[in-house]
C-alpha cells in the first residue's frame, strides 16, 4: 500500500514537473507483432507511449500527431524481461551461522557503474529483483545426506530491492524502494528458532519504529512479499510447518532442482516458485527432467530466472527458455514465467511485466519470436526511452 501511495505521489509530482518543463513526450511504435503476454498477440499492433507509460495499445489505435513514430514492420514487441532474484553486480555474501537481519538492505550494497548491468540490459532484462544474502540459485542436493561447500548465513537475510539495470546512482536504479523480505531457510533447529523468534517479535505489532521489526511486520501482514530460499524438497516440508502460523505472509519460494517432488504440496498451498531455467537430471541417473514443466502442469505458478548469476547466464536466458518449451513446457506459461509472473511475485505487476495500458513502457523490440533461437534483441526500452540498441553491449547514453 505504501508503495502504491509513493508511486501515485511520484506520478503527481513527475506529472507536475513535466507539465511545467516540457510538453508531453509521445512515442508510437508500429510493429508486425505486439506480444502483450497477458492479452494475446496483436498483429500489426500499435503502442502509444506517453511520458514513459503505455497510453494505448491495439491495431486500430489513433496515433497522435505530435508522436514520434517508430515504424518497424518486421519486428516483434515484447515486454522487458524480469529476473525476480539475482545478485548480479554484487559480491559474495558473508558466510556464518544463523542470524536475523531484517534491517539489512541490499540496495546499500549496490554499485551502479558496472558493465555487467549494461550487458544484462542488452540481454533484455529491464527489471531485476536483487537479493541480500544469497543468489537464490540452488542446484546442489545432499549426497549421502551431506551438503557440500561453504554456505552463506541462513536466517532472515534482509530486504531485497527491485531495480532497473541502468542509472548513474542507486536512486536512479530503484524501481520500488521497499521491495521484499528474504529468508534463507535450512531444515535445522537453530535456523528454525532464529526465524521463529524474529517473526514472533513482529507478530503482535502493527507498526514499529524498530528497523529490525518493521520489515517483518510488513511481511507478516502480506504488504510485501517474502522470498524464501530453500534447497531441498524435504526441507520445504519443514518450512511449511514453520510458517503455518503466519498465514497472511505472501510467500515466494526460491527453489532447487528437485522441486517437482513436492509439486502437489505447492499447488495446494498456492505458493509460487522461482526456478532456474534449465533441464535437470533425475538424481543419480541420466534421465532428464523438465522441472518447470512438471510444476506448471501441477498448476504451480512459476517464474524462471537465469541458471547462473552472471552475464553469460542472462545472455543465454531466452535460448534456455526455448529449450524448456521444446521439451514440453507450455509456450504461453513460459512467456508469462519470464515477464508477468516474476513481476507479480515481486508485487510490482501493477506497473511491469506485460504490455497493458497504464503500465511502464518497458519493452523489447525483437527481430522475431522471443523463443526463436535466431531472434536478436534490436532495442531495449525502459519507460519509453531506448536504453540499448543492437549490436549487443552497445548502450545508448541519453
Amino acid at each position: 500500500m505504501r508503495n502504491i501511495c509513493r508511486y501515485i505521489l511520484f506520478c503527481i509530482l513527475a506529472g507536475g514537473i513535466s507539465i511545467q518543463a516540457t510538453a508531453e513526450e509521445i512515442i508510437a511504435i508500429k510493429a508486425d507483432r505486439v506480444d502483450t503476454v497477458t492479452s494475446g498477440v496483436i498483429e500489426n499492433g500499435i503502442v502509444v507511449i506517453v511520458d514513459g507509460r503505455i497510453k494505448a495499445i491495439g491495431n486500430d489505435v489513433e496515433i497522435p500527431e505530435t508522436a514520434e513514430l517508430l515504424d518497424m514492420p518486421d519486428k516483434t514487441v515484447f515486454p522487458g524481461l524480469v529476473n525476480p532474484s539475482s545478485r548480479i553486480g554484487l559480491s559474495r555474501p558473508a558466510t556464518g551461522g544463523p542470524a536475523s537481519n531484517p534491517h539489512y538492505r541490499v540496495i546499500d550494497e549496490l554499485y551502479p557503474h558496472q558493465d555487467q548491468y549494461k550487458h544484462v540490459l542488452g540481454a533484455g532484462f529491464t527489471t531485476i529483483g536483487l537479493l541480500p544474502g544469497e543468489s537464490g540459485i540452488v542446484r546442489y542436493y545432499s549426497g549421502y545426506g551431506y551438503i557440500f561447500g561453504g554456505r552463506p548465513s541462513p536466517g532472515i537475510t534482509g530486504q531485497g530491492a527491485i531495480i532497473r539495470p541502468t542509472g548513474q546512482n542507486p536512486q536512479e536504479m530503484i524501481v520500488a524502494e521497499s521491495g521484499f523480505v528474504t529468508i534463507y531457510f535450512q531444515a535445522n533447529d537453530k535456523v528454525n528458532s532464529v526465524i521463529k523468534s524474529a517473526l514472533d517479535s513482529a507478530k503482535s505489532k502493527t507498526d514499529s519504529t524498530d528497523p529490525k521489526v518493521q520489515p517483518l511486520v510488513d511481511a507478516l501482514q502480506g504488504k510485501v512479499p517474502t522470498f524464501v530460499m530453500c534447497n531441498l524438497p524435504g526441507e520445504m516440508l519443514h518450512l511449511f510447518k514453520l510458517l503455518e502460523p503466519y498465514d497472511k505472509m505472501k510467500l515466494v519460494l526460491l527453489a532447487g532442482t528437485e522441486t517437482h517432488l513436492i509439486a502437489k504440496e505447492l499447488a495446494k498451498r498456492k505458493i509460487p516458485v522461482i526456478l532456474p531455467a534449465e533441464i535437470n537430471f533425475e538424481r543419480n541417473t541420466l534421465n532428464r527432467i523438465n522441472v518447470p514443466r512438471m510444476l506448471a502442469e501441477a498448476e504451480v505458478k512459476i517464474a524462471l530466472k537465469p541458471e547462473s548469476d552472471n552475464v553469460g547466464g542472462h545472455e543465454d536466458f531466452l535460448r534456455k527458455i526455448a529449450e524448456l518449451v521444446k521439451s514440453g513446457l507450455n509456450r504461453e506459461i513460459a512467456k508469462k514465467a519470464i515477464t508477468i509472473n516474476p513481476a507479480e511475485m515481486l508485487g510490482i505487476d501493477y506497473r511491469l511485466g506485460s504490455l497493458d495500458v497504464g503500465k511502464d513502457a518497458n519493452l523489447l523490440v525483437l527481430s522475431g519470436d522471443p523463443l526463436d533461437v535466431g531472434t536478436t534483441i534490436d532495442k531495449v526500452m525502459i519507460e519509453g526511452k531506448v536504453v540499448h540498441k543492437a549490436p549487443l553491449g552497445e548502450t545508448i547514453d541519453e
Binding site: 545432499s142 545426506g145 535450512q186 531444515a187 535445522n188 533447529d189 516440508l237 517432488l261 543419480n284
Partner: protein
C-alpha cells in the same frame, strides 16, 4: 410436546442407531482401508515360518496373520505367492534421511524424506534405522544425538519413531582422560540422585536444603536411571572389559559397538546382560604382545549366541552406496548376517540380528522388527531366501503403504533371476 411426537423421535433415534450398527459391523465398510499380503512364506521372526500365509494390514498396523484368514472383499491384495515375506530390516546406524547440517540439536527438524538414500534403503529392504549426528568433542566422553527413523519416502510426518534412544559414549584404553571424566561425572550424578531421593523421602521431617543440581549432567542422569543404554565402541578385549566396569559400578545399560573381540569375553558380556553390535566379516589382527587370545573371528556371532549374548549385525559401511566395492555397505545387510551363518550361527538368530534384536537394542521392538499382530506394517517381500546372494527385495511397505517396487525401480528393474 405430544406423545405422538415423542414416539416419532424415539423411532427416528432407533432407526439411526440401527443404521450405525449396520455400518460399524459391516465388513464392507471396514474393509475400505485393508491391505492383504497373500500366499508367501511368512518369516515372522518371533513366531516361526508360516507357509503360504496371509497378513492383513489395517491403519498401517498388522491386524491379523496366519494361514486360514478370510480376506475382506474390498481389501487391496498383494500377491506374494512363492515369495518370502518378512519384517522390514533394521540397519542400526544406516545413514539416510537426515540433512547433514553441523551442530544440530534435534534430528526431527532436519529429516529429509526425499533423500536419495531413503529410496536406496527401501530398495535394500531396510525400513528402520537409528541415525546419529555429532560425536563427543574435546575431552568429553559423551556427545552426539540419536533418533530412530523410518524410510518413509516423501512423508516427513511418518519418519520419526523415537528421539534420543541411546547415549553415545566414547572411552578407550588409549584415552585415560575420557574414561576418568566419564567415571567422575557418573559418580557426581549418582551422588546427586542419592541425595535427592533422601531429601524427597525426608521431606517435611527435617530442614535439610534441597541438593543443588549439578550442571550438564542430564545425560548421566538418564544413564543412571536406565532410561537409555550407553553405546560404547569397544573392539578389543581390553576396551570391552573396561566398559563393563561401568555396568558393575553404576548398573547402567550398555551396548558395545564394533565388538570384534567380543567372542573372547562372551561370558563376561552375557553375565551383565550387555548387548553387542558386530560386523562378522570385520578382520582384526591378533595382538602378539599379549598372552591370551585376540583378533577377530568369523565365529564371533556363533560364540556370542552360545554364551547367550544378544547382538545386532551391521555391515562395514553404514552408508548406502551406488559405487565403490559392492556388498560392504547397507545395501547388503542380509549378506553381512549370512557371514555370521558361515561362521556357525543358526539362520534364525542371524535373521533376528537384523530385525528384532536390532529393534530391541535401539528401543523400538514394541513397534517393529517382527511380523506380529499390532506391530507397524513395515514389511518386505523377497524373491528368495533372505541370505541367498541372488535374492532381491521386490516390494517394501512402511506403515502398510507400498513405497518400493523393484519392477519400477531405476536401478534394479532390468535385473531378473531367470
Amino acid at each position: 410436546m405430544s406423545k405422538k411426537h415423542i414416539r416419532h423421535i424415539v423411532l427416528i433415534l432407533l432407526f439411526i442407531s440401527a443404521l450405525s450398527m449396520i455400518f460399524i459391523n459391516s465388513p464392507l465398510s471396514a474393509a475400505e482401508d485393508v491391505t492383504a499380503i497373500q500366499g508367501g512364506d511368512l518369516y515372522t521372526i518371533t513366531g516361526g515360518i508360516i507357509k503360504n500365509g496371509i497378513i492383513l494390514i489395517e491403519d498401517g498396523k498388522i491386524s491379523d496373520i496366519g494361514q486360514n484368514i478370510a480376506i475382506p472383499e474390498k481389501a487391496k491384495v498383494i500377491d506374494a505367492g512363492g515369495k518370502v515375506v518378512m519384517p522390514g530390516l533394521i540397519g542400526v546406524g544406516a545413514e539416510f534421511g537426515v540433512i547433514g547440517y553441523p551442530d544440530i540439536n534435534k534430528i526431527a527438524d532436519s529429516l529429509d524424506p526425499f533423500d536419495f538414500s531413503v529410496s536406496l534403503a527401501l530398495a535394500s529392504g531396510i525400513t528402520t534405522s537409528m541415525v546419529s549426528t555429532g560425536r563427543p568433542s574435546g575431552d568429553s566422553p559423551i556427545g552426539g544425538i540419536t533418533a530412530v527413523i523410518k524410510a518413509s519416502y516423501g512423508d516427513v510426518d511418518q519418519m520419526l519413531v523415537k528421539e534420543s534412544v541411546v547415549q553415545p559414549v566414547m572411552i578407550s584404553n588409549r584415552d585415560w582422560l575420557r574414561k576418568t571424566t566419564f567415571k567422575q561425572n557418573l559418580r557426581e550424578a549418582q551422588n546427586y540422585l542419592r541425595k535427592l531421593s533422601e531429601y524427597q523421602q525426608a521431606k517435611g521431617k527435617n530442614k535439610a536444603a534441597e541438593p543443588k543440581k549439578p550442571r550438564d549432567l542430564d545425560a548421566y542422569f538418564r544413564l543412571l536411571r536406565r532410561e537409555v543404554p550407553a553405546v560404547i565402541p569397544a573392539s578389543t578385549t581390553g576396551d570391552i572389559l573396561a566398559a563393563l566396569e561401568f555396568v558393575d559400578e553404576f548398573g547402567i545399560r550398555m551396548v558395545l559397538a564394533n565388538a570384534d573381540e567380543a567372542w573372547i569375553v562372551a561370558e563376561e558380556i552375557s553375565k551383565r546382560d550387555v548387548r553387542v553390535i558386530i560386523t562378522p566379516r570385520q578382520k582384526r589382527r591378533p595382538n602378539e604382545d599379549i598372552s591370551g587370545p585376540s583378533g577377530s573371528t568369523l565365529e564371533n556371532a556363533a560364540i556370542l549366541k552360545k554364551a547367550g549374548v544378544k547382538f545386532a549385525i551391521i555391515p562395514p559401511s553404514t552408508y548406502f552406496e551406488t559405487w565403490g566395492v559392492v556388498g560392504r555397505d547397507m545395501m547388503a545387510l542380509p549378506m553381512e548376517a549370512a557371514f555370521a551363518v558361515s561362521g556357525g550361527l543358526d539362520e534364525q538368530t542371524a535373521l533376528e540380528a537384523i530385525t528384532i534384536t536390532a529393534a530391541e537394542i535401539i528401543g523400538v521392538a514394541d513397534r517393529v522388527g517382527s511380523l506380529q499382530v499390532g506391530k507397524d506394517a513395515d514389511i518386505i517381500i523377497l524373491d528368495g531366501h533372505p541370505f541367498h546372494h541372488k535374492t532381491f527385495v521386490e516390494t517394501t511397505l512402511i506403515n502398510g503403504k507400498v513405497l518400493y517396487e523393484k519392477s519400477k525401480s531405476i536401478y534394479f528393474a532390468h535385473i531378473t533371476n531367470d
